[in-house]
Symmetry: C2
DNA sequence: ATTACTAAACATCGAGTAA
DNA sequence: TTTACTCGATGTTTAGTAA
């Protein structure tokens, strides 16, 4: 079976858009060339090749051609469209991060326990996190890079606030699963005190205890992505 | 702005299918080559070009690469997919036939008045046609060809039957509009007594009279297509 | 105006091969 | 094993031009 050439995709798309699915539509090669951003000569060749491969039919009317797409040509385009569409929808919609547990300096724990934050946690993620964040060191570049994208993704946003002394930045939360079993949230801080290779997790309970983790324990965090 | 090259479409599709939308996925050029039915060298070049144009990011891990699609690359694919999809759905879904009125030999009128047919007309197209079909001569090849496709399309099917003398073939009906105003049906006969350039129309009333048509009057018939 | 040929430029591919 | 270079073969585009 003759396969549709990649460079003919645009040409066929253009023909379909002009209504050539069911009717012979008059179309000049120079017009077609412009619409596919190629020369008149290329358009002419495309049409000849498409005809030869049975994807279109042409009828000459004086010096002009009218073109109609065959059912073979149409079904080829439908096939292509559905391959594209399904691959766009079927990707595993989560980000996986792998790293090891490291001990934080207690800073995260302190900040996350502030009333200004806990009130919002209660209403937005439905629990007040265990006081103490889990710091995970990402060793591989690909995970460090992957973690960065959460800065631009939309998560549950905990607003910043200020007291008499200073202002506290916003916190973004992304629901995830630790080691395929424990619910947690990846938190992204507006002003982080870590370098990019360390991420912070919060959860309802003291994961370190309940999951019997120690420093350097290997961790996998999987965070679902919507959209 | 750098445009996505057509030959890279398959490569990007493959990467998306492998989950490279949100994560860096390890993929070798020889594997990728196989999946896009090109050589290892071509796959390698594709990746280099895609990276250069900002459609993917790569991270080297030992001798292997991990690849992730950038949001630019992803949106390019979404754009392409939606262009394809919308052009597949938006074509004008009708066939237009142009021709002139010719006088038939009264044959069609006779057959269509047979009880075996009229009973079915009543129940399947909700009226008994005026006794007398309208014959339209198609002069241009494109319309003759276009009319042919109704032989393979699905319409309302009036079953054939037989009496003591002979058998009568099936009739397929396609609802249409004559000269943008008059309801009619294009009928396709299993055994036609015309050459391909003549089509037959039936309708509730005597169109020849009500629309004041005479032989050689120019006619345009538009028939909606479903699917 | 058309379509389409030729010929040369340009892009893409893949075998061989280096690192 | 990798990735990616060179380079010759093949495919694609286009300017010029014929019909």
């Amino acid at each position: 079976m003759t396969d549709l050439k990649v460079q003919h995709i645009l040409t066929l798309t253009q023909l379909i858009a002009r209504g050539a699915r069911h009717n012979f539509v008059p179309i000049t090669t120079s017009y077609l060339g412009k619409s596919i951003k190629k020369s008149q000569q290329s358009a002419s060749k495309h049409l000849r090749e498409l005809e030869e491969d049975g994807f279109i039919e042409r009828i000459m009317n004086g010096r002009k051609f009218s073109v109609k797409i065959t059912s073979k040509g149409y079904s080829e385009m439908v096939k292509l469209s559905s391959i594209l569409k399904s691959s766009l929808n079927s990707f595993p919609s989560f980000v996986e991060l792998k790293g090891t547990l490291v001990s934080g300096m207690g800073e995260g724990a302190y900040y996350m326990s502030l009333k200004g934050y806990t009130k919002q946690f209660k209403s937005k993620i439905n629990y007040i996190p265990f006081p103490g964040t889990l710091n995970v060191k990402l060793h591989e570049k690909e995970y460090i890079e992957a973690a960065q994208q959460f800065r631009t993704l939309n998560g549950v946003t905990i607003k910043g606030f200020c007291d008499s002394k200073r202002t506290y930045g916003w916190v973004k939360c992304f629901k995830g699963k630790l080691n395929n079993s424990i619910d947690c949230e990846l938190i992204i801080l507006e002003r982080t005190h870590h370098d990019d290779s360390i991420i912070e997790l919060i959860s309802k309970t003291n994961i370190r205890k309940t999951a019997k983790l120690r420093d350097n324990s290997k961790l996998t965090i999987r965070i679902p992505i919507k959209g």
